[in-house]
């Protein structure tokens, strides 16, 4: 699912040896959540939701598990997730996290975190594509 990891695996098709792929830009807690996402996705693929979003409630836009997932906790902020997804090039996760942020905005909850993301990520970049 991660294009980055996939790219590296392509190279090594002969030997079945264990490859070590460092991911310096991704903290372990974040990585854990990313893996959780990927594993769940294998079993229950996420629906493609329409952009622009029609509601501020994630539960109405996407499946329940994903709606619950896309929520910040103390260790892992939503912004962390977005950046990890961007770094590792995992499109579904990017869509989901982007949508979560957009949903916040629709609800009118401009938290500090959101502001920080906005400031940090302000470059002509796609994560905000799904904002109305």
């Amino acid at each position: 699912m991660s294009e980055l990891v996939k790219g590296m695996l392509e190279e090594d098709n002969e030997e079945e040896k264990v490859i070590e792929i460092p991911l310096p830009n991704v903290k372990s807690a974040v990585l854990r959540k990313v893996i959780e996402f990927c594993q769940h996705y294998q079993e229950e693929p996420m629906v493609e939701f329409k952009k622009p979003l029609k509601s501020g409630q994630m539960a109405e836009v996407v499946q329940k598990w994903y709606a619950d997932f896309a929520v910040a906790d103390e260790q892992v902020l939503l912004s962390d997730l977005i950046l990890a997804a961007n770094y590792m090039d995992i499109k579904p996760l990017m869509d989901l996290t982007g949508a979560a942020i957009a949903a916040c905005m629709i609800r009118g909850e401009i938290t500090d975190e959101i502001r920080a993301i906005g400031a940090k990520m302000f470059s002509p970049v796609d994560p905000y594509e799904n904002v109305i």
């Binding site: 980055l4 790219g7 590296m8 190279e11 490859i19 070590e20 792929i21 460092p22 991911l23 310096p24 830009n25 991704v26 903290k27 974040v30 962390d80 950046l83 961007n86 770094y87 090039d89 940090k120 302000f122 470059s123 002509p124 970049v125 796609d126």
Partner: protein, 773 residues
């Protein structure tokens, strides 16, 4: 977390020089130059990727996306220009294969470099490239290769390839994989389209191919016979096809094929067909199936390539057919009697047709042009009559031979086959109606004289004719068979009736014929003996009760009888015709009659009576004595029963010479006039007004069973004008109404003649008897 707030900002030169250049680009270049396998450990790769990523996601003014993109391009460009190009230029002078190998090597290197650089800089592809509508990294790399290397080398490369291909054509072995890789290089240089390949490689190759095969053609045509040339041509085409399959782009196949076909087939087609001693006609004459088949397949590739060949085939078959006809002519010239029966000739035509039918099927794959050629030539042959009797008649007699009892002895399958084939030959006849008339006459003879070998065979042939020409054509023939079938059904009924009412000593049968179906026969009103009259009355009564609306006319000139003749103590059964029987009955009491006396008594004319008397008194069995004796009957002869007559056999058949000709020529002519007039009326009813030319053309197209001369049609038109079915109107005048037009014609006869060439015919009334038929 890679929050770039926590990490130091990467400066452009730092990031570039320390990480990217050192870790990626230099390594890449080195491994390529050294020839080692290029690969990067995941750790290394991630380091470089992350550096790029970071440098591209930093907030401005530290966002280095643009610079990285630019430097990516510059790196590739520099490498190509400084390292790759000189290496190639170095090899250019050293001969084709060496250059090609070097190019192949460098291209493969480039592909590796392009891949890795793309992987390192991949973040740019995701957003930067899209937002600025720039070429992707991969594309950019390709463009650089194209402009730095490809444009400089393409001409030399193309000539190297062409010389290799020419070598292979001459039989040398070349490195096909090498050529294939270079061809693929050309394809890639099109960046999405085949343009580069087409312009830079294919077009020069096609030209070279053209001149190569042009030379070969000149060489071969001078030395080789047609079959040998064709074998070489076939081989060359096969080779070129394989060549494209092995190392060129598939789109080249049709183009190369066209060039080769053009050079070695199209340009010398006439030459090959007409070559002295080995051209198409010679091959046909010697039944060279393989060579003809090859020729057929090769020429069918060309546009309109088969027509010339079909023309030669047509001429050849026509010549063969004419040879048969000349043979017949020679037979007649050398004094052989001209009869209406020439089975040898008809069979030779049938055999010719069968032969070329199978040739066309097997050698020419039943192609329609050749079928048409066969048809055209047979149409010419079959309508070429020599001698007194038309081919239509000869063919009808041929059928007669097969269908009559005592004719050719053939098995059922052979009969079927022969009939089938004669009908095929029949289909080429123009004068089909003539055939029908003759055939009907012969059929009548067979049926009435019980000479038909097999009812099924008769039906089969009529069915085949029906398939060819339609129901109308065979309706009379079918009617004839039907009459007999009905007759035999009703025979039992009538026999019972005879038993009740008739003279039981005389057994009597009647065959009822429907008048339209049968040929017209003379019905002499001969004076019959009482016994016979009585039988006829019984029948008439019975028949009239059954069919009130029908009228019977007795035809005594047909029919036969068995006469019990007692000469002294011996008696004989004489099998004779009805009229002979009537004559014999007159001598019942031993009288003597003069010829004229007999004539008057029996109410017969000379033409009828003479042959009868001849058969009874001058033939083998002289049952009647003629005085004076001799072989000719004159009106002064007198006749009496031959008291001294004896014969070993009890049953004696006494045949009479037949007077009738095979058919009534006038009848055919009459029928034709009627058919033409009916066609004219039918056409004019539909079209209302038509010019002379058009009318003649339409009439010709509508007549299926014969082809009249235009002047005959013109005569019919004039006849119809006389009877006021049509009228003329001059070309330039408006539509007149009917009466005006008539008076116009009456007052101005000079105008009528003056506008002779511009006549239009207008239908003014129709009559039921002519319409529809």
């Amino acid at each position: 977390m890679s929050s770039s707030q926590n990490q130091p900002v990467i400066q452009l030169e730092d990031g570039w020089n320390n990480v990217i250049k050192k870790g990626a680009i230099d390594v890449l270049e080195r491994t390529l130059d050294d020839g080692f396998d290029t690969s990067f450990e995941p750790k290394e790769y991630i380091r470089i990727y992350t550096t790029c990523y970071d440098m591209c996601t930093q907030r401005s003014p530290y966002n280095w996306s643009r610079d990285l993109y630019q430097r990516h391009g510059e790196t590739i460009e520099a490498y190509l220009r400084n390292t790759v190009l000189p290496a190639l230029q170095d090899k250019t002078g050293q001969g084709g294969t060496i250059l090609l190998n070097e190019l192949k090597h460098r291209w493969s290197n480039h592909q590796i470099m392009n891949k890795w650089l793309r992987k390192f800089f991949t973040y740019l592809d995701r957003y930067y490239v899209k937002h600025h509508s720039l070429p992707t990294l991969e594309m950019a790399g390709l463009h650089h290769f194209k402009s730095e290397i490809y444009q400089n080398c393409k001409e030399n490369t193309t000539s190297a390839i062409i010389s290799l291909i020419d070598e292979e054509r001459e039989g040398e072995i070349i490195d096909k994989t090498l050529v294939k890789s270079i061809a693929e290089l050309f394809e890639s240089m099109g960046t999405g389209s085949l343009d580069a390949y087409t312009f830079d490689l294919e077009t020069p190759l096609l030209e070279a191919t053209r001149s190569y095969y042009g030379r070969k053609r000149e060489d071969w045509i001078a030395k080789d016979s047609t079959p040998d040339y064709l074998i070489k041509a076939e081989k060359a085409l096969g080779e070129e096809k394989t060549r494209v399959m092995e190392y060129l782009n598939p789109s080249t196949e049709p183009k190369i094929r066209k060039v080769v076909e053009d050079e070695i087939l199209q340009k010398v087609q006439t030459n090959l067909l007409e070559k002295e001693g080995s051209g198409c006609s010679v091959l046909l004459a010697n039944d060279k199936t393989d060579d003809l088949q090859r020729m057929f397949h090769l020429f069918s590739r060309l546009e309109n390539g088969l027509q010339p060949m079909a023309n030669i085939v047509e001429k050849f078959i026509t010549a063969q057919g004419n040879a048969c006809i000349e043979k017949r002519q020679a037979k007649l010239d050398s004094g052989e009697k001209d009869k209406n029966d020439d089975p040898e000739f008809v069979k030779s035509l049938i055999d010719l047709h069968e032969k070329y039918l199978s040739v066309i099927r097997e050698t020419f794959a039943s192609h329609h042009l050749f079928q048409k050629a066969l048809k055209n030539s047979f149409e010419e042959i079959v309508n070429n009559d020599v001698g007194q009797y038309s081919n239509a008649e000869l063919m009808s007699t041929f059928c007669d031979r097969i269908l009559k009892s005592g004719g050719e002895k053939l098995s059922e399958a052979e009969v079927e086959q022969s009939l089938d084939r004669i009908v095929q030959l029949f289909s080429f006849l123009t004068d089909k109606d003539l055939f029908a008339e003759i055939y009907r006459n012969q059929l009548a003879k067979r049926l009435l004289n019980q000479r038909s070998a097999s009812d099924d065979a008769e039906k089969a042939l009529i069915a085949k004719l029906k398939v060819q020409c339609g129901t109308q054509f065979t309706s009379k023939m079918e009617g004839m068979l039907n009459d007999l079938a009905v007759g035999s059904e009703q025979k039992n009924e009538f026999d019972q009736r005879m038993e009740q009412h008739g003279d039981t000593k005389l057994s009597f049968g009647v065959q009822v014929l429907t008048i339209g179906n049968w040929p017209s026969y003379k019905a002499p009103e001969v004076a019959l003996p009482a016994q016979m009259s009585k039988c006829m009355e019984v029948f008439k009564e019975w028949h009239d009760a059954k069919h009130q609306k029908r009228r019977l006319t007795w035809v005594h000139s047909l029919g036969n009888a068995t006469v019990r003749a007692t000469y002294g103590k011996k008696f004989y059964d004489l099998q004779v015709t009805t009229l002979q029987a009537v004559v014999l009955a007159a001598f019942d009491n031993g009288q003597t009659y003069g010829f004229t006396e007999l004539k008057d008594k029996l109410n017969l004319d000379d033409i009828t009576l003479k042959p009868i008397m001849h058969s009874l008194s001058c033939g083998k069995q002289k049952v009647i004595t003629k005085s004076p004796a001799g072989n000719k009957i004159t009106s002064t002869d007198s006749f009496s029963p031959n008291a001294k007559f004896t014969c070993n056999m009890r049953k004696i058949r006494i045949p009479v010479a037949s007077v009738e000709s095979s058919h009534n020529k006038n009848r055919v002519e009459e029928d034709r006039s009627v058919a033409i007039e009916a066609a004219i009326v039918r056409i004019m009813k539909a079209r209302k007004t038509l010019s002379h030319q058009q009318l003649v053309a339409e009439v010709l197209s509508q007549l299926a069973f014969f082809k009249p001369q235009p002047r005959v049609i013109k005569k019919r038109i004039e006849a119809l004008i006389d009877r006021e079915y049509l009228e003329r109107s001059s070309e330039n005048s408006q539509q007149y109404n009917v009466s005006l037009l008539i008076s116009f014609w009456r007052c101005n006869p000079s105008l009528f003649f003056a506008s002779y060439n511009f006549l239009r015919y207008v239908l003014i009334k129709s009559v039921p008897c002519l319409s529809g038929e």
